[in-house]
Amino acid sequence: MIHHGHAVSQKPSRVVILGGTGFIGRNLAKNLEAAGVEVRTVSSAEVNLCEAGSSDILAGLVKKNDTLVMASAVTPDKGRDSRMQIKNFVMGQTLCDFLEKSSPAHVIYLSSDAVYDDALALANEASPSAPSSFYGVAHLGRERMLSDVLKKQGTPLLVLRLSILYGADDPHKSYGPNRFFRTAAAEQKITLFGNGEEKRDHVFVKDACRLITRCAERQSRGLLNVATGISVSFGDIALKVQTLFQGKVRIETTPRANPVTHRHYDIAALLETFPDFRFTPLETGLAETLKEIRQIS
């Protein structure tokens, strides 16, 4: 559950996005700018959080009244082992070193639903964190690191645990809508694990960014899952993508290597926090994504 520092929305004086050139960072910057908010994006090329001394560079970039969004992580497509976990910890520690000396007005940490056990079928904010992957451990560890340092500083921290995001400019190749679009366009086929039975909650990246913007405007603190509350199987998504390609894509199934797991969300906390927030229906989001992919290419 989250609480708001501002009873009504107030435009943040500036939002600094670490990982500002990544998938979420870029979309968030666009959304904030459209809302008239000054944005400063910081890429890993400018500040490499894995390197010693980066905290000093951050000190020169982040001002006291800024809202700081941490959207930077080494993602599983760059490795799923403990080295990836340690790199994420180092990034988290660099940020914490900076935050120990400096207090922005508000910190938003973009975490992942990987902090929950993969076998957890219905998740809410009270669900125990029991990550099944190094990536989940990395996010959970960083949540704790930030919580510890910001509590001492009295700076409000919001942790948003994001479910699977999709959108036009996603560079990741992970299983789901983004990969389906890519292989549908390039190879006219979509390959499913098994029959794609697993149900997941897919969030349109623009919706996630609208929500983050609202949290920044209300100076929200606490913990919130970012999910739509509606889970759809990968098989159904493949069919929706196939329809968007006018059926000119074949869906291939492969022998299943792992047992089927599902993930659903009880989004009561989100609805209690933002009762009028509405997610884009999946069909609409997928259609918009394809349109943008075609515009980009």
């Binding site: 009762p275 927030f277 509405r278």
Partner: protein, 435 residues
Amino acid sequence: MIGFAGLSHLGIVSSIAASSKSKEGVVAYDPDAALCGRLKAGDFPIFESGLAELLKAAGSRIEFTSDASRLKKCSLIYFSPDTPTDPENRPDFSTLHRLFDSVLAVLSGGCTLVVLSQVPPGLTRGLSETMKKKPNWAGQKIYHQVETLIFGNAVERALKPERFIVGCADPAAALDAPYEAFLKSFGCPVFKMRYESAELSKMSINACLVAALSVANSLAEICEKTLADWREIEPVLRADRRIGQYAYLSAGLGIAGGNIERDLVAIREMAREWGTDGSVIEAFLANSRHRKNWALKMINEQLTPAGPKTVIALWGLAYKADTRSTKNSPALALLQNLSPFSVRVYDPQATLDQKLFPQAVQAGSALEACRGANILAIMTPWKEFFSIPPAKIQEALASPAAVLDPFGVLDSAKCTKLGLKYFRLGVKSEGGGNL
């Protein structure tokens, strides 16, 4: 004479019911003089069907007083104060202890004491030890009588109990004569047992009720995703003797009212303290939280493109029909989360606290609440709602409109035929999607 100390919901109903059984009459004491004044005038702070008539019939056989010394006339005194709970549903027994000490200080022994308020295992034994140390009270007996009050049906339950459960220091010994005579006048079985067994039996009853309710809610939710209808399954379960026709099997919006939640929390805390497995209790509580938000989720799904301009009609504020209690009411929980919208509320008994909900207004009638609303949510199944024709509702609502009727108050087929999008617990909606 029979005395009652502590005029809570339980104390008011029990004392008035006792006056219909006791020829000598009843003294109903509470330190709150204003409350006693209201009760003398027949102005009840609670709503219970038949209570006003019962009080009228009692006439001079009941005396409401804020003077504890008036209890001196009584040979049997019940302690029935309310037990407040914190936001986490943890009980606070300090009111009971204060009342107990203050009453015993005024009296000089010579009467039998009964703790009627619900208490955890060990509390009555503790009061017994306290009593023995007081002058004139060493030889007196104290009992714990399990209350089985049901809000909304309290008068009938108080007049015609199914059984009495009595906790005693020595279950093998006979009950004190005045107490035994009073219980006998109800003509129902009396189960005597140790203090702790009696105290835990009430929690056990509530845990069993919640177990059935949680099963019903879990399976009703599965029905909402499939083509099954929980209302078709419910009678099958009631016909099974191992389950029973009176089992709590109707799907609902979680647990409300406060008392059952308090018991679940108490059991969970005991399990934690003693290292026993309380995971099933945690599951009941989690399921209740999950189902309480059914209407909120439906409203989010049914929002019109008008977004914050959506007008919502809300029927019912009380946590259940036939009571004006709103404690842990799903309607209030919903209302709390509707701040961006205009809401028009109607309840036959409960009053809206305008300070807490400035975006809501209380309408004078159910149909008035519906005028121009995009969504109607029927949060309490009051009897009067059952007789309102769906055509009148459809006429009053905006078009298109959705009806959230968790308890099935309205005829779903008629609503759907009239073009209303209709949703209830335990069945998949035929009109899914957005308005």
